[in-house]
């Protein structure tokens, strides 16, 4: 696997892959958004139920991004793989963005449904912490000048922060406060009608594809930037 993952090989493989990934993202969003709007209004929530289609996938991808970041950090730390460092570094701002998106859409959904923009509930609080974890990770990367050293330090921080993921996942079971419990990946099947489940899954696919498309663009940019810097310094690997 690692033989195919050196930066040069990555640039070669990702270049033709990128348009397909971007195209798939566009298709998934087109289908997902159409189904989201076409779904009937909920008998209790009315049209606000549609917020679910942009809120829930954002939250899923925000958590997946942290899992990805932690995995890339682990590989970077153990195998000293530069591409893994690049992947982790570039996943962080995206993860922070999706976390912010989940928090904002959640709060806009909470206002009509719960009557409040914010509640210090287990899941909301742990998600806010996820946002701060991302910010701390990004800040640490930017604070250390030496790139390899920054990558290692940030990787250690990312792995320490992994403890927050299960807390987010199980917070709705541990503290039964305002945020509803697990209603999709539960024993006994989902609690959501199929007309809502399909758009949700397609939107989730769209968000995931969007994450990886943007990640690929960011990683390519980072590698090109590093090459440009090496060229400018006239380094041994120039060209």
């Amino acid at each position: 696997m690692f033989a195919y993952a050196n930066p040069k090989r990555f640039m070669e493989v990702s270049a033709p892959l990128l348009p397909w990934l971007a195209g798939a993202t566009a298709v998934a969003f087109a289908a997902g958004l159409y189904l989201s709007v076409a779904a009937p209004p909920d008998y209790q929530q009315g049209d606000t139920v549609r917020i679910m289609f942009i809120h829930v996938p954002a939250a899923w991808v925000a958590m997946m991004a942290y899992g990805f970041l932690a995995l890339a950090s682990l590989i970077g730390l153990i195998n000293r793989h530069p591409l893994a460092d690049v992947a982790a570094k570039q996943a962080a701002p995206l993860g922070a963005l999706f976390t912010a998106l989940a928090l904002i859409t959640g709060s806009l959904w909470g206002r009509p449904m719960w009557g409040t923009y914010w509640e210090w509930d287990g899941r909301l609080t742990s998600f806010l912490l996820l946002f701060f974890l991302y910010l701390g990770y990004i800040a640490l990367w930017n604070a250390i000048e030496n790139e390899t050293r920054a990558a290692r330090a940030a990787a250690i921080l990312a792995l320490v922060g992994v403890v927050n993921l299960p807390i987010i996942q199980f917070s709705v079971q541990w503290w039964t406060t305002l945020h509803q419990g697990e209603s999709i990946l539960r024993r006994g099947g989902p609690l959501i009608a199929a007309v809502y489940l399909w758009p949700l899954f397609i939107m989730a696919a769209g968000y995931t594809l969007l994450f990886f498309t943007l990640l690929m663009v960011r990683m390519r940019t980072e590698i090109l930037q590093r090459r440009a810097r090496t060229l400018a310094m006239g380094g041994p690997n120039a060209g």
């Binding site: 701390g136 604070a143 250390i144 921080l157």
Partner: protein
């Protein structure tokens, strides 16, 4: 005297003497707790209900203030490099420093806290919980703080970066620490103290290794 004990004694002496951080942290702790009623209002019932949270947050902040001295000063004057060359492993060094930090910050804060709790009208029933929770939780603060400072030791003005890294990791300590004290006001036990003990029980043995890994990468060059 073993290298571990020597390092421990040295750090405690440094913290206790002039310019050390032990008294500063206590002063800061007392100042925050004193300032709060002046800002929020000194009504006894209001203060009693927020006393637990105030004491816990002030304790965390006072710890934060002293964290950058854990490795930073030794890194800057080069003594950390000398320690790394000593027979004591980096894990041992981190362990000794965590212990010294707790003995000079967490422990004095815990001892001072009942006095400040009187100023905040904390109900008498909550004092044992306050002491036990601080005694259990503050070692975990030192342990997690050591990891974060080891990560940022080469960063100039790392003091500004530190809170952003440490505070998200410390929230369980604050939640369960203050939660235990709050519950004990009503004579309840909410199990928070066990979460706190478990948290400390996991972070204390692991943190010297993580901190040593962070130091190793920062010292390698």
């Amino acid at each position: 005297m073993s290298a571990f004990a020597a390092l421990l004694a040295r750090d405690i002496r440094l913290a206790a003497r002039a310019g050390g951080s032990a008294m500063l942290a206590l002063g800061f702790f007392a100042a925050v707790v004193t300032l709060l009623p002046l800002g929020i209002g000194s009504e006894a019932r209001l203060l009693a209900s927020i006393a637990a949270g105030v004491l816990w947050i002030a304790a965390v902040l006072a710890n934060l203030l002293t964290l950058d001295r854990l490795f930073q000063a030794d890194y800057e004057d080069g003594s950390l490099d000398l320690f790394a060359l000593s027979p004591l492993s980096l894990e041992g060094i981190a362990g000794a420093k965590i212990m010294a930090h707790w003995l000079t910050t967490g422990l004095p804060l815990t001892i001072l806290s009942p006095l400040l709790a009187v100023l905040l009208h904390l109900p008498a029933a909550a004092y044992p919980a306050l002491l036990v929770s601080l005694l259990t939780g503050t070692p975990a603060i030192s342990a997690i703080g050591a990891v974060a400072t080891a990560l940022t030791v080469t960063v100039r003005r790392g003091g500004l970066l530190l809170p952003l890294i440490v505070l998200p990791l410390l929230t369980p300590v604050v939640i369960f620490g203050a939660g235990t004290v709050l519950a004990s006001i009503d004579g309840l036990q909410n199990g928070g103290i066990w979460f706190l003990a478990a948290f400390a029980g996991v972070t204390l043995p692991l943190s010297p290794f993580v901190a040593a890994a962070a130091l190793r990468l920062n010292l390698s060059e």
